[in-house]
């Protein structure tokens, strides 16, 4: 499963994965994480463990810090100047700050809120991560495999050399997922990936996530509570830069322990 081989068109469905127990230690952990934009503190003491091969959702109202938190996980938050991190983020118990950042980002992939394919062909988009990381195998096979994993192959297989902008918004987002998957990340971070898409495209991506979690740990930020309820195994609720509550999705939505969580779920604000 880990090697890039000629995969079959059929991928295991979500129902198979449901019975597997979560591993003992978290794949990705935040320990007392504080994050500052200049003098402003955006995240306060975030501690949570993301289990391997599960989908973890982060919800909360606008500006609560969930996207900021996501972006510290692959250190893409560093690209804006004047930011500071205190505390730790651990990938397989290794501090991400001590790992070479380009290697980290190959292992922890990201899909952005608005799809951002490069102004290149579909093929070159998917192949980009592979080329940049020095892939020595067959690009053609790897690209095909990624596009199949992203459930996009059938739709684009005869226009691989067309511009990535020639496909629809939903397809572009799946292209971005294929591009992220091409380098075989252990973790996939998705920052509100469906917020610019229609319900049909959204459903396709949610189905996709179910099929991917076997091979990948998924963290998804979403402002859509129903989406979190649909796809996530665990959910974390953020408010004003703090992690208010973090538990299995069922507990968060049916039986939250904190008043703020319940207020948000029932729509009293946000």
């Amino acid at each position: 499963m880990n090697d890039i081989t000629m995969g079959t068109a059929n991928l295991p469905s979500a129902s198979h994965a449901a019975g597997k127990p979560a591993p003992h230690s978290g794949k990705l952990k935040a320990v007392n994480l504080n994050f500052y934009y200049g003098a402003y503190q955006a995240l306060h003491g975030i501690t949570l463990e993301v289990p391997a091969n599960r989908i973890t959702a982060l919800i909360g109202p606008s500006g609560c810090g969930k996207s900021t938190f996501l972006r510290t996980l692959n250190r893409i938050s560093e690209t804006i100047g004047n930011t500071r991190v205190e505390g730790q983020v651990l990938l397989d118990d290794e501090d991400v700050l001590s790992v070479d950042v380009t290697t980290l980002r190959r292992r922890v992939g990201m899909v952005f809120q608005k799809s951002n394919p490069f102004p290149k062909s579909i093929f070159d988009n998917v192949a980009y991560g592979l080329k940049v990381n020095g892939f020595r195998g067959s690009l053609k096979d790897a690209v095909e495999h990624s596009l199949k994993r992203a459930a996009l192959w059938e739709e684009v297989k005869d226009k691989l050399h067309k511009s990535a902008y020639a496909i629809s918004g939903g397809q572009q987002q799946r292209l971005c997922i294929a591009r992220a998957l091409a380098v075989d990340p252990e973790v996939l971070l998705l920052d509100e990936p469906c917020s610019a898409l229609d319900p049909i495209a959204t459903a396709k991506i949610e189905d996709l996530l179910f099929t991917l979690k076997d091979q990948c740990t998924i963290v998804i930020v979403t402002h859509n509570m129903q989406q979190a309820a649909r796809v996530a195994d665990r959910t974390g609720f953020f408010l004003l830069g703090k992690l208010i509550e973090y538990n299995t999705t069922e507990v968060i939505f049916k039986n939250p322990t904190k008043q703020e969580t319940e207020d948000y779920i029932t729509g009293r604000f946000g």
């Binding site: 880990n2 090697d3 890039i4 591993p23 003992h24 230690s25 397989d92 118990d93 290794e94 001590s98 790992v99 070479d100 950042v101 380009t102 290697t103 980290l104 190959r106 292992r107 990381n133 020095g134 892939f135 020595r136 195998g137 075989d184």
Partner: protein
């Protein structure tokens, strides 16, 4: 779960090799591009230094008197900048007097009245005017404009307004007025282009407010829209001025090359850029050469100040637009 080594070794995944030494690449890229960015600083500083150093002789000999003296005599070694400063300023002001009304008028048409297709097509052509080389303007001015000025325009002005000192005296065809006209044509595209953009930035609400109060189209344009954009329009005027001050070839070819101050616009005169263009390669004595360099320094300072003012005004417009 076993901890992987602290060094960044990813678990082996199939038959792939990863390059790891990219961090150094970033530093190298930063340093290389930084070095090239530095050349801009080095050149600018070098330019100022060179102008200052190579004008030492006349600066020490004449001091500030250089700016007020009208003597320009390579034989006796007397050099003064006044006729050239005068010529530069007169021709540039003339150019603006002609180009600003014409240019702002055209900009108003393009920004307010013309349908988008016409507006962009016209603007495209007008911006091409800015690309015409100075020597081509000079060529045209010398062969086509000078006869027109000599045979029609200047006699007409002398007949009608000859009681004014500026329109009296011998008519040559060359001289301040002709230089001013060709400079006006050269400055026009800049004024139109920048004023048009300033006018386009004016929010529609301004226009509509005036119209809703019963103003005519012209009144709303002239009394509501144009004042709102006035900073940008002034900016374009200063920019035009800066360019006119430094224009060399076209002016050199029609100004007449007389290093004296004259009241009449029909008279032959000189500009800073023109005399440097004409005499620099022929100058023999150090004092002569360095006096020309000093003229260049004066021009340099003049254009820097005007350009800075222009930029401030244009920035002020942009900022005002977003507030």
């Amino acid at each position: 779960m076993a901890t992987s080594s602290p060094v960044s070794a990813p678990p082996p995944r199939g038959a792939r090799v990863w390059f790891g030494r990219l961090r150094n690449g970033d530093e190298v890229a930063r340093l290389v591009t930084l070095a090239f960015a530095c050349t801009i600083l080095v050149v600018t500083v070098g330019l100022i230094f060179q102008l200052w150093a190579t004008s030492a002789l006349p600066r020490h000999k004449f001091g500030f008197g250089f700016l007020t003296s009208s003597q320009w005599n390579p034989v006796t070694g007397e050099f003064g900048a006044l006729p050239f400063i005068y010529g530069t300023v007169v021709t540039s002001v003339l150019a603006l007097l002609i180009a600003v009304p014409l240019g702002v008028g055209a900009a108003i048409f393009l920004a307010e009245l013309a349908p988008p297709r016409i507006s962009s097509t016209f603007t495209f052509f007008i911006e091409l005017l800015a690309a015409v080389p100075s020597v081509i303007y000079g060529l045209l001015a010398f062969f086509a404009l000078v006869p027109i000025m000599r045979d029609y325009v200047e006699p007409f002005l002398k007949r009608t307004l000859g009681f004014l000192g500026i329109f009296s005296g011998t008519i040559f065809g060359l001289g301040y007025l002709t230089a001013g006209v060709i400079l006006a044509i050269m400055t026009l595209p800049f004024i139109i282009s920048i004023s048009r953009e300033a006018l386009l930035e004016v929010p529609t609400e301004q226009r509509e407010a005036a119209l809703a109060l019963g103003a005519t189209r012209w009144e709303s344009t002239w009394q509501a829209v144009v004042p709102y954009a006035r900073l940008g329009i002034f900016g374009s005027v200063f920019l035009g001025l800066a360019r006119a001050l430094g224009e060399t070839m076209a002016v050199t070819m029609v100004i007449g090359n007389d290093p004296k101050v004259h009241e009449s616009l029909f008279a032959l005169g000189y500009s800073i850029a023109a005399i440097v263009a004409n005499e620099f390669s022929e100058a023999t004595t150090d004092l002569h050469v360095q006096s020309l360099v000093l003229l260049g320094l004066v021009l340099f300072l003049l254009t820097i100040v005007i350009n800075a003012l222009a930029r401030l005004l244009i920035i002020a417009t942009a900022r005002r637009g977003s507030s």
